[in-house]
Symmetry: C2
Amino acid sequence: MKNILGENEKIADENRKLFREKNVFVINLMGSPGSGKTTLLEKTLSKLAEKLKVAVIEGDLFTARDAERIERQKVPVVQINTAGGCHLDAAMVKRAAESLNLEELDLIIVENVGNLVCPAEFDVGENLKAVVLSITEGDDKPLKYPLIFKESAVAVLNKIDLIPFTNFNLEQARADLATIHPQIKIIETSCTKLTGLDDWCNFILENF
Amino acid sequence: MKNILGENEKIADENRKLFREKNVFVINLMGSPGSGKTTLLEKTLSKLAEKLKVAVIEGDLFTARDAERIERQKVPVVQINTAGGCHLDAAMVKRAAESLNLEELDLIIVENVGNLVCPAEFDVGENLKAVVLSITEGDDKPLKYPLIFKESAVAVLNKIDLIPFTNFNLEQARADLATIHPQIKIIETSCTKLTGLDDWCNFILENF
């Protein structure tokens, strides 16, 4: 395991060097299956495209469903199929990036495999990690899956419109996130009610 | 990876032999973080306890929160902390089972780590696998994460009460599940509205 992570780190550093040379900022977008990562991208890519040239790398075990959804947003997209693998690694992102024209890009968003555990352990050469937590997953998830929240610069609390129909305690979740990672930025979004999406886009533009 | 799985399979077979000798039926309960595995157990353990002597093995990366919730249901519970590991393996379940009195038990439910990918690859010596899919995760999950649905005898479509607030297409999900695994039993549940819980308990009693 240490060898695998060491080899991955080496390729991640090469990716980061390449992205810096080409002036491309890279976000590694993580979260559980169904937390709403693809929908968040669908709703914000056009907003971001007003300011930045964006591409997406889509990670999935199988199918090109998410890439097809992103393609409709008229941004370049590369699908990675891990064939059952539970996370993206730096070598996969390196190969995917080779089919993008980096000279013409400002930002790549890498949508990782839906998984709140393994993706947090594998640096892909990103500038920052972001985690999407659907409030339907429950407020105990930061304490139960701390690494991904420790690693991420921002936590997007998505599907916030469903909060009246759940027992999610927003105050508790915010307190737990602050304990695990005091500097983490917390953004509340709803992709159906279209709330918080400007906050998310502004966070990206400010960190860019 | 093949070596790890081969070694795991050996211990899983030993577990299965031991459980059969002791007349204990074992269910491996899997699903994404926040799909509602622990709440499903909370709501059904007392119903099952009328007919069977049940114990629970709780798998989590960190914390004993789920085990504490299960303890309140007055059934024996053993917590496994994987310390960041993304799934339970047969050796962990073997150690956990050693602290249970198997002679006095009819059924062990193993609640796996919240993860729709890795747990499906690791046999822990169970008699059957069950997967919980919250409808808030989206109807595309069976096709995107097929292995766990192929491996499971039953798919519990949980949080069905939230369907009016989502774009989840129940017909599509059922059709995709039937394509991936024609024999899979599909049970719709809501742990807040207390619907479908008898179906779930009856499924266990019929397969027992």
